[in-house]
Amino acid sequence: MSTVHVEKMTKYYGAVHALDGLDLDVAAGTVYGFLGPNGAGKTTTLRILTGLARPTSGSAIVAGVDVLHAGSALSPKIGHLPEEPAFYPWMTPLEFLDYLGRLYGLSTTQRKSRTKELLNLVRMEDVSRRRIGGFSRGMRQRLGVAAALIHHPEVLFLDEPASALDPAGRKEVLDLIENLRGQATVVMSTHILADVERVCDVVGIIAKGKMLVQSRREELLERYAVPAFEVEADDRAALAKWGEDLKRLPWVTAVTSQNGTLRIIVKDVKTAKAALLAGAVGAGLVLNRYEEIRPSLEDVFLQLVGTESIS
């Protein structure tokens, strides 16, 4: 059953079509990677789904609530982490989370325990009484995650949660998201493929305001990834000659050569596995490397969106 369901959603800013008939479905309990190049419409979608913007047309249901006519029904069900979470600089994390707890109607006891629990989760107990104004981007991002979780939301919307962080900060935030699996439905927008590969179960690829494809990550890789092998040898002349011979075989789609490495794209993996090594030996090659290339999300993304937007 879908926790987030978007149908034929458009959002026009004058002549600019930020969303152009977007369809989106997120099943309950999944970590959904909303992937697309910059300007694809990811943030606009999340802003509409959190009630901050209105679509030009279309419909959206989040946790059973019609977003366009939600009134006050939507906010208790969702948590939202904007790309750059903004806080009152004069507040401390403790005051901030307590304030949010009050807004969500938590009792004093609940606020105290939840605040402590979340500060521990995002590892900010030691700075809990420091002014937020002096925090780094990574600290603000972590506090933003805590803020989004204060009321145990059913659906969590995270807009580029790790894109501006250093490697350590990125790992921390991704670990946090991974730990949320099963606790909430997470919709995470990003243009960083590695982040999606690491934490998301389901991937939706958006470009120019349209959903190009959405599927479980493994299915997507199976469907779109190109079966390929790479062979590396020192004797480049022999390697190139063998490459030319391979091109004539019926189970080979294409062969490219670069810096002593032959990339062989095949139609039939089984036949290729049986024939390639024997063929190389027969061609008198001494191999440095022979590898079946594991398909990556990058291959899928490149096929669907194009090379110019890859991150």
Binding site: L52, S72, P82, P85, A86, F87, Y88, L103, Y104
Partner: protein, 253 residues
């Protein structure tokens, strides 16, 4: 929705960002100094070396009328300016910084967001004006004579309504604007319209500035009334706040 919680946060913000302190300090300084200025200005002028005796005799002996006049003049000038300056950025800055977007996905209605800010500013001004008025009353009593409490409280109440009009208009400007610069420009246009055009004799009876004439007249025993200006001022506050809520509700933040 959650008005009290957001209002409490706004009051805390008034304190932590020194907004309340700034308003209170300026109004209290002018409140306290007004009777003293009225009392000692003529004496200081007389003390200037070389002022001929016949000119010195032209300086009138100050009375409670001068103390009240000085107080009203200072308070209105600085009070209105503070009301504009302190309110013009409160919404637009939150939109620019992103805090508005961050909090509007929480259980905070847009009306609560606007009205809690206005209420907090109103309380800060009311408290500051109360301290300033008390100080002025005390020094007027020490230097001149006591002022009757009833008319004096009414004068300050009318002055507060005048400030509240400017605050509501400034808040509306802050809501409409997409940047702080535009908010400043719009707020000063509001000042020119309400303060400048409202000073024209033919229409001044209907503008908030006339409330001050009414209040001063009550304290000094005159016979000016300004009921139309009072109703119009209260109407402007309600309409400006309603418009701010409505506009903010339709805005994408």
């Amino acid at each position: 929705m959650n008005f009290i919680t957001v209002f409490r946060k706004e009051m805390l913000e008034q304190g932590r960002t020194y907004r309340f302190l700034i308003v209170a300090a300026i109004l209290v300084i002018f409140g306290l100094s007004s009777p003293a200025l009225a009392k000692f200005t003529p004496e200081m002028l007389k003390a200037i070396p070389g002022v001929p005796a016949n000119v010195q005799s032209l300086f009138p002996t100050p009375t409670v009328v001068d103390a009240v006049g000085q107080y009203v003049k200072n308070m209105v000038q600085f009070g209105v300016l503070l009301a504009l300056l302190m309110t013009m950025g409160v919404v637009v800055q939150e939109k620019e910084r992103g805090t508005a977007a961050f909090f509007l996905t929480r259980p905070v209605s847009r009306e609560t967001f606007i009205l809690a800010k206005y209420a907090a500013m109103a309380v800060a001004f009311m408290a500051s004006l109360a301290i300033a008025a008390l100080g002025c009353w005390y020094y007027t009593y020490v230097l001149f004579e006591p002022i009757a409490w009833g008319p004096y409280l009414t004068l300050n109440g009318l002055m507060l309504i005048d400030f509240l009009v400017y605050m509501a208009l400034s808040l509306l400007c802050s809501t409409i604007a997409r940047s702080n610069g535009i908010a400043v420009g719009l707020a000063f246009v509001a000042l020119i319209i309400v303060g400048g055009i409202g000073a024209l004799p033919s229409i001044s009876d209907y503008f908030p500035g006339h409330l001050i004439s009414w209040g001063t007249s009550l304290v000094l025993g005159g016979d000016i009334t300004a009921w139309p200006a009072l109703w119009i001022s209260l109407g402007v506050i309600v309409v400006a706040l309603a418009a701010a809520c409505l506009i903010f509700r339709r805005q994408e933040v």
